[in-house]
């Protein structure tokens, strides 16, 4: 049959289209993997958090904490010295609850009395592991520590103070805060250059006006803006050169089905550098 030898040439540029669709499909798969990883991370975080809460209810947290605490404080010497200062005045009252806490722990027992004595003379030079180890125990406020029933609460407090330490350290380089302490965390201004903000979901038929169209916001002005939106098959369904575009989820006048779409935005930032951002948006019908 002569039909089998029929060899028409396809249009020019079809190969580029195929390569483009392959790239978009690869992007989708990577996006799927990233989403999966993010999901797993979120779930494990939730599990560990809830696990910690339930542990806090049980008494054995006190044990677990004291075991962990030395490891956490051991690394640098500065925190130990810093911790000394607030603790020093509290050291005298703390000396009384300490033997109580040390009791369930035979391993630290011999050290506990030694430490109770050490902070008083404030020996700075020979700060040894033996001294550092029980410090986190002495950290909690003495007022709370006096009542023996609040043992799990104490460890919670020590945990919080650790957390606030970390957050202060990590925020200070990125955020512009005059003083890390005493500032409402919700008011800390964070400046990120040329951040594109795009919603990850929109609903053209929804009740909420703001969510009916897909738009972007920018932290500073962008130029030479090009936006492309693709469906799952890698076909381009929307494009715009206007940064203040708004897409209603249609393609050539037909309403696109519910599902995920990839967007790619190319632009120049305020310093004229070419940038490319990409993400996915879910269309809900």
């Amino acid at each position: 049959m002569n039909l089998q030898d029929y060899r028409p040439q396809p249009d020019e540029g079809l190969y580029e289209k195929i390569q483009h669709r392959l790239r978009v499909r690869r992007l989708w798969r990577m996006g799927g993997i990233a989403a999966g990883v993010a999901l797993v991370a979120a779930v494990t975080l939730l599990l560990t958090l809830s696990g910690k809460n339930s542990e806090a209810a049980g008494e054995d947290l006190a044990l677990a904490k004291t075991e962990k605490a030395p490891a956490a404080v051991l690394q640098p010497q500065q925190p130990a010295v810093q911790a000394d200062e607030p603790v020093a005045p509290a050291a005298t009252p703390a000396a009384t609850p300490q033997p109580q806490k040390a009791e369930p722990q035979p391993a630290i027992e011999p050290q506990a009395p030694a430490v109770a004595a050490l902070p008083l003379p404030q020996v700075a030079a020979p700060v040894t592991e033996a001294k550092e180890q029980p410090l986190p125990q002495a950290k909690p406020e003495p007022a709370k520590a006096v009542t023996p029933t609040k043992v799990p609460e104490k460890s919670e407090y020590s945990e919080h103070s650790e957390y606030s330490d970390y957050s202060e350290k990590s925020e200070s380089p990125s955020a512009t805060t005059e003083s890390a302490k005493g500032v409402d965390p919700s008011n800390i201004p964070v400046h990120i250059d040329n951040l594109i903000w795009a919603p990850n979901v929109f609903a053209p038929d929804g009740d909420i006006d703001d969510n009916r169209r897909f738009q972007m916001r920018y932290s500073s002005s962008v130029t030479e803006f090009h936006l492309y939106i693709y469906n799952r098959g890698g076909r381009q369904v929307y494009t715009s050169n206007d940064p203040s575009f708004s897409w209603d989820g249609t393609h050539n006048g037909s309403r696109l089905p519910q599902g995920g779409y990839v967007w790619i935005a190319k632009f120049r930032d305020t310093s004229g550098r070419p940038r490319q951002e990409q993400g996915t948006v879910t269309l809900i019908r």
Partner: protein
């Protein structure tokens, strides 16, 4: 030839852009020929060709015998075309004529003419005709592929031939 195919496939597996281009250049006319027969027009044929080549590139790692690349691509293209036809509503044809009753001498016509006539048929008729007359499938195989009754396939083939004849001799 087969050596060339092996080299091409190995290059593609290494994500070598030149090899990918070479594979496309070598296979596109043949694949386009298949798609043109199954599509209603050139546009649709190119859509099918794109889908087919995406399958080819993404599944190249599963190709065990690179020297049979041509046959493999050919089958992928046919599968894409069949799937496209299957996506349409399954059709039933009343058996109103025997398939063998219509003879259709295609030889005097150029391939372009036949394809042009084929493209005027409805999608199921076109698919049935292609699978049986060009690809050499049996009626039972086509019935299974397209989820149709064998009697419907026979009838569709007969209609396709009859319609083709009118288009070609007009």
């Amino acid at each position: 030839m087969s050596n060339e195919y092996t080299r091409m496939v190995e290059g593609c597996r290494r994500r070598d852009a030149k090899a990918q281009r070479a594979l496309y250049d070598a296979m596109a006319p043949m694949a386009m020929g298949v798609c043109m027969r199954y599509a209603r027009d050139r546009e649709q044929a190119q859509d099918l060709l794109q889908d087919g080549f995406i399958k080819v590139y993404e599944n190249l790692s599963k190709l065990r015998e690179p020297e049979k690349l041509g046959a493999w691509v050919y089958h992928i293209m046919i599968n894409v075309c069949i799937n496209h036809c299957r996506a349409a509503k399954p059709q039933t044809y009343i058996e109103d004529c025997a398939a063998d009753a219509v003879t259709l001498p295609l030889d005097p016509f150029a391939a372009e003419e036949i394809v042009k006539a084929l493209q005027q048929l409805s999608a199921p008729l076109r698919t049935v005709f292609n699978l049986i007359e060009v690809e050499g499938y049996s009626i039972e195989e086509v019935a299974q592929e397209l989820k149709m009754q064998p009697s419907s396939v026979r009838s569709a083939l007969c209609r396709a031939k009859a319609q083709l004849r009118t288009y070609l001799t007009r």
